[in-house]
Symmetry: C2
Subunit: 542 residues, 2 copies
Amino acid sequence: MFGQMMQQPLLISSLIVHAERHHGDREIVSRRVEGDIHRTTYKEVASRSRRMAKALAALGVKPGDRVATLAWNGYRHMELYFAVSGSGAVLHTVNPRLHPDQITYIADHAEDQVLFFDMTFLPLIQAIAGRTKTIRHFVAMTDRAHLPADAKVPGLLCYEDLVDAQDDRYDWPSFDENTASSLCYTSGTTGNPKGVLYSHRSTMLHTMSAALPDGLDCSAADVVLPVVPMFHVNAWGIVYVGPMTGAKLVFPGAGLDGKSLYELFEAEGVTLSAGVPTVWQGLLGYVEANGLKFSTMRRSAIGGSACPPAMIRKFLNDYGVQVIHAWGMTEMSPIGTAASFKAKHAAMGQEDRFAVMATQGRAVFGVDMKIVGEDGRDLPWDGEASGDLLVRGPWIISSYFKNEGGDPLKDGWFPTGDVAKINADGYMIITDRSKDVIKSGGEWIGSIDLENIAMAHPAVAMAACIAARHPKWDERPLLVVVKKPGAEVTREELIAFYDGKIAKWWTPDDVVFVDAIPLGATGKMQKIKLREQFKEHQLPSA
Amino acid sequence: MFGQMMQQPLLISSLIVHAERHHGDREIVSRRVEGDIHRTTYKEVASRSRRMAKALAALGVKPGDRVATLAWNGYRHMELYFAVSGSGAVLHTVNPRLHPDQITYIADHAEDQVLFFDMTFLPLIQAIAGRTKTIRHFVAMTDRAHLPADAKVPGLLCYEDLVDAQDDRYDWPSFDENTASSLCYTSGTTGNPKGVLYSHRSTMLHTMSAALPDGLDCSAADVVLPVVPMFHVNAWGIVYVGPMTGAKLVFPGAGLDGKSLYELFEAEGVTLSAGVPTVWQGLLGYVEANGLKFSTMRRSAIGGSACPPAMIRKFLNDYGVQVIHAWGMTEMSPIGTAASFKAKHAAMGQEDRFAVMATQGRAVFGVDMKIVGEDGRDLPWDGEASGDLLVRGPWIISSYFKNEGGDPLKDGWFPTGDVAKINADGYMIITDRSKDVIKSGGEWIGSIDLENIAMAHPAVAMAACIAARHPKWDERPLLVVVKKPGAEVTREELIAFYDGKIAKWWTPDDVVFVDAIPLGATGKMQKIKLREQFKEHQLPSA
């Protein structure tokens, strides 16, 4: 027997309809690549999204067609989020930090029909325009005045021309909520990037869960600045959470340096932000160096890679900002866990509370997780046992686009590739990526713990811990360190720094200093490159 | 083209599974009808729900069968919420304040197979046991020790016996999320009660939206005491919001007087509560009379009928409790709007903020609303135009159980029977029930405004404003007043009290004093009875 309630599909267009109707005058502020600060409202973004939806139809874009973007966080990119997905096409957000060869591969694999780009990326477009197979139109996300006379892209279109050519009388179509809405490629460590194809349903459920008090805790009173890019897992859903809640959105465009971000935080009264640890390092560095404070910011969601505990402390102790340590991945839309407190933590001392905040957090409602041993059997949630982390839920991948790589699931669970432990309260701690685990004498050593300790040393700007070959133990930890400008520290001092902080046998056998650690397109350390670089490294203990 | 994300139906059982896994040790506290305070946990409630699901199957309850409850808010009732709906049957919560004839009608109409009841209601069960047509088992929600030797109910079963007979090895079944989950009858003013049949999908989406920061704002740190009964629209969803968020739940049982409630609030550290204005009057009366304060309560959701502005002020000014004024109805699962602030209100003075809190609020995400004139055309959201309020959304009724009353919708919208205005910020103000509207000389007078003013008079305990016949104006307002014990006020004083507070022609033409205003089963004033009582009333102005 079925219930007798209204049947309404969960569609992304409902978000912008809701925002226009209930939060029409709420601001959307963008730092444009044109150089200025641009101000608009949900009402205006809704209207222009409808005009762009009509423009897409006029360009021959049909439901299911992929429409690509190479763009920073900004209001035009936001309009495309609703124009493309809302009209039934698939928004393919492309990471502009990828190599042109990879972008060409991805655009061809996705069979993109139209590609929208910020002017920053014109050289990139010039490099790929003659090479992609399916793109019929390239659209510069600017107005006619900012378009060079000869952009050297055949048949180039202008965003504002497309919008100007349409009126906003357009009704968002209704269709099956399982329809594909957006596509994001994730670069595996081996093989070609694989596409994750989100649906309207998965996106809408993720959005509702993400905004909950124990997630991002986002309300109409908030001013949210997503540092995390819209080309990477939909800025962790913030482009959808904004219109759902009526929060003001502030888009930083290309200005991701500490100074640009800080000025925008203060000028716009940002209360909530989200980004990867490396970006926050730049921001905190600027704020520290100039003796500044945050006037309005109260919460900062940090994920993408583990947030060093030292950064969590600094945010709270020095600036009164609560870090929401979160974990997820492209295959998870992306939010899986968030380190929100439980009631029992209220009475704890600050050190114990920091220990909770340093975990990756507990599952947001909708996500289920488990850890398993090498035999595939469930491991206990005791904070000790460490194993492969698997997840499931309505916004987690079931298979990659075009079924690349075959069936990724194990008995209905998605293997994250992370190694983790979970404590009795359900807080999860990533101890490693399964491919980064250091296996010493048959026992696992978690590289992330070792990196966090090194990062707490005042002279260390960045640290990676990788496995180095050892004749007796198979592998032993090697610490790769970038020093802070002007700071000095020796190998011996760093090794001594581990004393009492970790089991003796986990202490790195050696330290090497480098000028830079290679970062991937989403800002994560590429340890695979370090392992390649140091594969012949002779440990003094060997 | 479909997305490639996991397909998982939205099922009510997932809530208790999540709570057991992530909040297993969180407490559920109940004041039992047995007289004591009972303490359990989500883990234990989850285990006992599974045992009860097996017991139901053993009693022959099949998917789709209706299982009724006549019970207060308590942990056993909560277990039935999950045991019944989770196993695929339909939980039919019956309002015990209805007349035995109505309960018999409802049980027969629903074709209930089993009826669970709290011992308080044994006399009621004795009155209906021989009369209902389909109920095969009556189950007393107590243990064997509290069961009288001869309960005078043939074949009576005992709740704890059923639980004790089963182990908890049970996997919740998976099925279509549109499957019916629960059933709640709403007593119209004419005709027989009609059933609203919720689905797992509608319930789950409602639960997620209800917990959002601009709704109930419920997190794992909260301690929630639902005063609103579980027999009435699922305690506004709190029985589901609790396990979703990991909030501690405190159930008041039959103790709804001011003293019992206050003691439970303080003993259990309640931070959030929800109920109808009449219950809060009792609580505030007790707190005031005894010079008490609330130590932990910070938010109180008030709905069911309009909250008098004087009560909103008293809660905040005298006790530091923020009222979340909310509106909804059985046909809406029930939450439609909540009067959460927007960012723009932060800078306002307290009087302007009170004006926002006194509205019924803005639509929670998922609910769309509109007001229409007598010609059915949309009215503007200008805070002035007043018309019939219509709603739609995935947790709003499409038709009544067994299609009683035919198709209730108008062009896909559900007519609420309320008359409202909506301001430019989307805040809705109920001015009347459409059947309670006073039509004076062709113009509408909102009875609720007139009642709110009367309620602000220190001598008035309760006030209803109804239409009285008038030879010239057709109808004019008649104020019906219950005085506070020991307080005195005259007809002339009350009429003068309206001076300057409202348009002159809205002032009631007459005042009558009564000992009591009849209340319906959910605590709402039954103005239809008052209209009947005063249908021959001679207005002095006539």
